[in-house]
């Protein structure tokens, strides 16, 4: 059996408690201390030990172990500022030649849903960064939260992507063959790699759930499950933070993976990166996905855009696009794009316990105040440009 393994890593830019009195006065919205602190913590507990482990496994297997990383531009940028050693560590993985880096919208945004042009620019910006850091240019797209639809697949095709990842959620896509490459309607050149949702979640979620029927899961058992899969390739994908952060070291997560990879190789199963997969196989069928799906619990986009606060925030940030871009001010465009990260809208979801704010209402208020400040700055800049132009004409 062929196995394609992808880890996704991202850290949000959490905002400060940006109150009304800061509007027009305080141009920095992010809680730099908190963001640096969390990045550092996760770097120590997860990214560095996981990178070390993965590199060992690559080395020990003479490169037969291969996998992919989908790293957001935001986390790489944070690492460049606060943990350059993390960049070095990823660079070492890149140098093995066994690791493929996937394309992402740089800002882990929802631009694929709200602004196709902006989406393309963010994917290009991300590809530039990956090339600059790791000397490779990504060819397979891992969209924010695995967002996927017919339209998004078409956008990936327009960007020249060879493949795009989608979550294999049978409730969302009825005619699904999880372990085979697919295509979106009328899109042949960009293949859709469907994540095996069940097997991925077994490792990412169920493995540490004592109520699960298979608990405690042996890595050998899991390797056997993989071996018995049918189809072209089993795509396993999860957050990199599963290793050491969501599942702490004490759950034996590193030991599990240290055993799992050799066990898979022992079964003579073959690791392929997503790029190798799309270059090796033809797609076997067409999946029709008119509505966007994601790899979230419900498979929908509801964690980002179901309530009125989220909808208002999204509407207002994308409404600024034309004016922000007209400024040709790179810093301002960067700030605007950072406010597009999907995390901001996820923090406004009611019942989301995974948040730095006291409530979704606070998340919304701070965000909207920061956005108002950006509006003020955009307007000031536009007024200045207009004044200069009229002077030139005179």
């Amino acid at each position: 059996m062929n196995i394609s393994l992808t880890f996704h890593a991202h850290q949000p830019n959490r905002l400060i408690a940006y109150d009304f009195f800061k509007i027009g006065e305080h141009a920095f919205y992010e809680d730099d201390n908190l963001n640096a602190q969390v990045l550092s913590q996760v770097t120590e507990r997860c990214y560095l030990p996981a990178n070390r482990l993965m590199k060992q496994l690559v080395d020990l297997s003479d490169g037969r172990f291969r996998f992919a990383l989908a790293l957001s531009g935001v986390i790489l940028e944070q690492a460049q500022h606060h943990r350059p050693d993390l960049i070095t560590s990823f660079r070492e993985l890149a140098d093995t030649g066994s690791v493929e880096f996937l394309a992402m919208p740089y800002y882990a945004s929802l631009a694929s849903l709200y602004s196709p042009g902006e989406f393309a620019e963010q994917v290009a910006e991300h590809a530039d960064l990956i090339e600059q850091l790791f000397d490779v240019r990504p060819t397979v797209l891992w969209n924010t939260g695995m967002l996927y639809s017919n339209a998004i697949a078409a956008q990936a095709y327009d960007m020249g992507m060879e493949g795009i990842m989608a979550d294999g959620n049978r409730q969302m896509i009825s005619n699904l063959h999880t372990n085979d490459l697919q295509c979106a309607p009328l899109i042949a050149a960009t293949k859709t790699i469907v994540r095996n949702r069940r097997l991925s979640n077994d490792l990412a979620i169920s493995r540490v759930d004592p109520a699960w029927s298979e608990y405690p899961l042996s890595p050998y058992t899991f390797a056997d499950w993989l071996h018995r899969q049918e189809g072209q390739v089993v795509s396993i994908s999860m957050d990199y933070e599963t290793l050491g952060e969501r599942q702490s070291d004490s759950t034996g997560v590193f030991e599990f993976w240290r055993t799992l990879i050799p066990a898979i190789l022992f079964n003579e199963d073959v690791f392929m990166t997503p790029g190798e997969t799309v270059r090796s196989f033809h797609s076997t069928g067409t999946i029709d996905c008119p509505q966007p799906i994601s790899c979230s619990t419900f498979g929908t986009t509801s964690q980002w855009n179901a309530n009125v606060m989220q909808q208002e925030a999204i509407k207002k940030i994308y409404a600024l696009e034309e004016q922000v871009k007209a400024s040709h001010d790179r810093d301002m465009i960067h700030v605007w794009r950072k406010l597009q990260s999907a995390d901001h809208f996820h923090y406004m979801e009611k019942g989301n316990g995974f948040t730095p704010y006291p409530s979704p209402y606070d998340a919304y208020i701070y965000y909207m105040n920061a956005l108002a400040d950006l509006q003020v700055r955009v307007k000031q800049e536009a007024d200045m440009l207009r004044a200069m132009e009229s002077k030139n004409l005179a």
Binding site: F21, I23, N307, M309, E312, L371
Partner: protein, 432 residues
């Protein structure tokens, strides 16, 4: 003429409690003390705090044996006229909660036991004066005021709002001195025209038993007469004053005009109307931002409604602000908006006027009687409210005119003027 000796009964009082009622009572007391002998009893006071010109006692500072001595030989009058059972009350919550501990006789008369040691603890605890068993606090306060009053020499008793009305009535019954009740806010304002229950009953009973009722506006006077059936002949409206404030302007950091709503986010203050007004204004001009300062049970719902109206980037919530922050906000504000559904007075509009801010206020407010220059509309008429705001932020001439008129209007709005009017009411009651 002989100086009148006044026993004043208050509930909130600065510096310990700084609610709107407390601020008003402080203003009244300071001004009255210049012309009458004044003694104030409140549930809670800071023992070390000295007031200029009057004495103030907090029940929380009484020793139990003092109460015991005062109480000897006194039988509490019953408050049987207060028909319904006292309950765990919250003056600013809509529902009225669980039964309290007062005993009824078979004839339906309320029986009051002697003050117990634990009763005094009601006032020494850290608990907010309005939370916990409020009914018991109100009743114990009444009993203690009554026995204390017997030890003082005074000409009349002046009670502020329903929490002290029972005390006022009990003092009147214990001493035979006339009672003046002050109506700062009624249950009608807080809960609407169908407000009934123990608080309403106490308000009605207190005003009926009183020799004079002083509402804070003519508007509130009509509420007392209309909704409580109080004889208009004994209603004497006296407008609140406003303490002079340090007025300053701060340059805004954004180009848009700022329209401010300031108050508790409860139905009474009309925050939903302010949102609707904001949405209507933004349809007509983009050159404006709105701030809703304050907190309350409706905050979250309002945040979502604002998002629904699509004004989230122009309509800002600050949550609770202290006085310093409120003044900072006033120093930035261009237009003050008070769309209250029922506002007995509306001191905040006067404070805004002190900052030279023109106001758009609801006709259902007492302050509308004072601020002749303010632009007014019925609270439900969001179109008219919005028009006023658009006019103010687009028409500089009008803006200047309204601001100047406001400055005129507030000249007479001071506590000394108010105190003089109250003293005239005292004279009327005493027949002096």
């Amino acid at each position: 003429m002989k100086k009148i000796k006044v026993l004043e009964l208050g509930w909130e009082f600065p510096p310990l409690i700084n609610g709107g009622l407390g601020v008003a009572c402080m203003g009244i007391s300071k001004a009255l003390a210049k012309k009458v002998d004044l003694f104030v009893i409140v549930p809670k006071a800071n023992p070390g705090y000295e007031y200029d010109g009057f004495d103030l006692v907090g029940i929380n500072n009484l020793e139990y044996r003092q109460v015991e001595t005062l109480e000897s030989g006194y039988m509490y009058e019953s408050f049987a006229a207060v028909g319904k059972a006292p309950i765990d009350l919250q003056p600013y919550a809509s529902g009225e909660g669980t039964p309290g501990r007062i005993v009824f006789t078979r004839e339906g008369k309320l029986l009051f036991s002697k003050v117990h040691k634990t009763d005094l603890e009601l006032f020494t605890a850290h608990e907010d004066l309005y939370s916990g068993d409020l009914a018991r606090k109100v009743i114990e306060f009444s009993k203690i005021c009554a026995v204390m009053a017997r030890a003082y020499e005074f000409d009349l008793v002046h009670a502020h709002d329903w929490m002290t009305y029972l005390a006022g009535v009990e003092v009147k019954k214990a001493t035979g001195k006339p009672l003046v009740v002050h109506l700062h806010a009624s249950q009608f304002d807080r809960a609407g025209a169908d407000a009934r229950g123990w608080i309403y009953d106490i308000e009605k009973y207190g005003m009926e038993q009183a020799d004079a009722v002083i509402p804070v506006s003519k508007y509130t006077g009509t509420v007392a007469a209309g909704h409580y059936g109080i004889n208009p002949d004994k209603i004497f409206p006296v407008h609140n004053g406003a303490d002079p404030v340090h007025v300053f302007r701060t340059k805004k950091k954004f180009p848009e005009k700022l329209v401010l709503f300031l108050g508790r986010l409860t139905a009474q203050k009309g925050p939903e109307f302010f949102l609707q007004i904001a949405a209507k204004v933004l349809e007509q001009t983009q050159n404006v931002r709105f701030v809703m300062a304050g907190t309350g049970e409706k905050l979250r719902q309002l945040i979502e409604t604002g998002a629904f109206h699509g004004v989230g980037d122009r309509f800002h919530f600050t949550g609770f602000l202290d006085k310093t922050k409120v003044n900072e906000l006033l120093s930035l504000t261009d237009v003050y908006c008070m769309p209250s559904v029922s506002e007995p007075f509306g001191l905040s509009a006067l404070e805004a006027a002190q900052f030279n801010i023109p106001a758009v206020i609801s006709k259902q407010s007492g302050v509308a009687e004072v601020m002749k220059g303010a632009l007014k509309a019925d609270f439900w008429d969001v179109d008219m409210m919005a028009k006023h705001i658009v006019d103010l932020v687009t028409d500089e001439k009008l803006y200047k005119k309204v601001a100047e008129q406001s400055a005129q209007d507030i000249k007479n709005s001071n506590w000394d003027t108010a105190a003089d009017k109250m003293i005239r009411v005292y004279h009327h009651v005493l027949g002096w």
